[in-house]
Amino acid sequence: MGQLEIELNTQVSTLEEVNARDLAPYQAVYLGNPYCPKHAGNLLENHRELAEAITRLKGMGKKAYVATPAAPRTGELGGVEKLVETAARAGADAVEAHNLGVVRLVHRRFPGLPVHTGCFANVYTDLGAAKLKEYGVRRVTPNYEVSLEEIHLIREAGGLEVEILLHGKMPLGLTNSCFLLNFPDHPCPQACREDFWLTTRDWVLKITGTVVWSGKDVCMLEHLPYLLESGYRAFRLETLYEPPEYRREVGLIYREALEHMAEGRELLWPAWLEMLKNWSRHGFCNGYYFGQAGRMYINQYGEPVSI
């Protein structure tokens, strides 16, 4: 298992977050917040800083991917085009699109610039992925509801690289107006720096303006050997709206696990899981990968457990 070919990536919103220390565990970084243009310091809204962020990442020997707005209206497409132009000029390795219109736009105006689709692009089937390949898509993140059994089919038939969410909160819903505007005590844009949780029964969700997230962190650490064996090489640790320490520490744990796996060393499950738990407020789930409800956690022995 060659360790170098494995990509751990993550996402940051601002230039301030593009620093060597916090991004040390990662080979690639998605730049910008696709969900809210008002997010303070959002790189998608400041093209000079975006170009600077790309240069910085390149200087660190990392790949730079640039996010695009998740649901732009027709009137915003001009801005999206300028954003992609900036990204291409500054040497971005790919752009990420959640919106199929953006996929088409990039394909027509910037042919040759690789496109990765994000979870809201709703790739659920192999034929859907194969069709997107004709539009310049090189990598897909299937919708998070898609099981691993189906993801294997998407990868085989689509002939595309597939990115897997390995750890972190997963988006569960995208809306058009900011939920946090209901709370005048927490005005925009500071509200986004605050953690808002939604709780009912024993369910917890996180909410950040226009996106609802899982309250639990998806954790696929125990299944990483299986994912590697199955041939996946691009893994996302979702750290948008997380503090820099989360990004760094969680990344380092996965990096260490990958090293142990590559070198055939002992796998320290309890210790790694314990360390990861320190960064998770509401426990772990592994999403929809095994066909179950997204909030459940299935361990490496296939047992549903609470963790």
Binding site: N99, G101, R104, G173, R295
Partner: protein
């Protein structure tokens, strides 16, 4: 001429909305549309409904607008072939792969892109037109300019005039299956993905649970529902007609046939009077008539929501 499209959640409802004056009806084959199985039709029922609708000289559209397992696409094509032999007039699809496969297999069959495709801009409309789509069901969250942009893209526009909006963009929510998802294979091998509105149609409406909102400083609010409201476009119907909207759609397969019949009668008369004298349209009397429909609709919806939330912990 604008088309009034009505829901067909059961054979009784199909008959009721035809009698009430709908121009077309949409139905979902069991396991394949964005509604729970109770409001979908078995194949034999669908066949009978097709012949009933055609006996009125009207159209029937089949909603296959969930996102299937890759292995289910051949089954979908087989089913569609049967439906075509019964004379269905159009199909409503969501998945890019399914749209591509259906267009390739049945190039003459009109494909309408479901609201779940979540198109928001001119490049989206062009993308789906290139796939073979002829008409777009517009999300309630789209502003008027986008409806014109859909038209400019050479596509028909379908507008929801009587519906519920989701908290999220439709097709961009998997909160329900986060709480509960059960894989259930039917006799034909179709997975009903129970609990996933995108995949199987049954949604537990988590957005409408009473949520406590907390942050670092404590609880900011108790028992908040995420906005998911009734949506009526009554006074804007003349504007839709002016814009050249192709279809005005009433959503509501999960309500009673009598209620949907009443809704169709109201909108039928409203549209006809609007077409007869567009300049003198006065929405006031129509709002008064809508009140009773709204009251019954809210009652039925609240009961159903409570049931769905209860089932989510089963």
């Amino acid at each position: 001429m604008v088309e009034l499209l009505a829901p067909g959640g059961s054979p009784e409802m199909v008959r009721e909305v035809m009698e009430a004056g709908a121009d077309a009806v949409y139905v979902g084959p069991r396991g394949w549309s964005r509604r729970a199985a109770a409001f979908e039709l078995g194949d034999e029922e669908l066949k009978e409904c097709a012949s009933l609708v055609h006996s009125y000289g009207k159209k029937i559209r089949v909603a296959i607008n969930t996102l299937p397992h890759s292995r289910e696409i051949p089954l979908l094509l087989k089913k569609l072939e049967r439906f075509l032999s019964w004379g269905i007039d159009a199909v409503i699809l969501t998945d890019v792969g399914c749209i591509h496969a259906v267009h390739r297999a049945f190039p003459e069959l009109p494909i309408h892109a479901s609201v779940g495709c979540n198109m928001t801009n001119a490049q989206d409309y062009a993308f789906f037109r290139e796939l073979g789509v002829r008409q777009v069901v517009a999300d309630c969250k789209l502003p008027w300019e986008e409806l014109s942009a859909i038209r400019r893209a050479g596509l028909g526009v379908e507008v929801l005039i009587h519906a519920s909006t989701c908290f999220t963009y439709i097709g961009q929510c998997w909160m329900s299956s986060y709480a509960r998802q059960v894989w259930h294979l039917d006799a034909e091998g179709k997975n009903h993905f129970l609990g996933s509105p995108n995949r199987g149609g049954l949604c537990h409406r988590l957005c409408l649970a009473p949520w406590d909102v907390s942050c670092r400083h404590g609880t900011a609010a108790w028992g908040v529902k995420l906005r998911n409201e009734a949506f009526f476009l009554l006074e804007d119907i003349p504007r839709c007609l002016e814009l050249g909207v192709s279809t005005l759609k009433i959503q509501g397969r999960e309500y009673t046939p009598a209620l949907m019949g009443a809704a169709v009668r109201l909108y039928r008369q409203l549209i006809d009077s609007c077409l007869a004298s567009p300049r003198s349209f006065d929405p006031a009397p129509w709002y008064a008539r809508l009140e009773e429909i709204k009251r019954l609709r809210d009652e039925q919806r609240a009961r159903r929501t409570a049931e769905l939330l209860r089932e989510s912990i089963a």
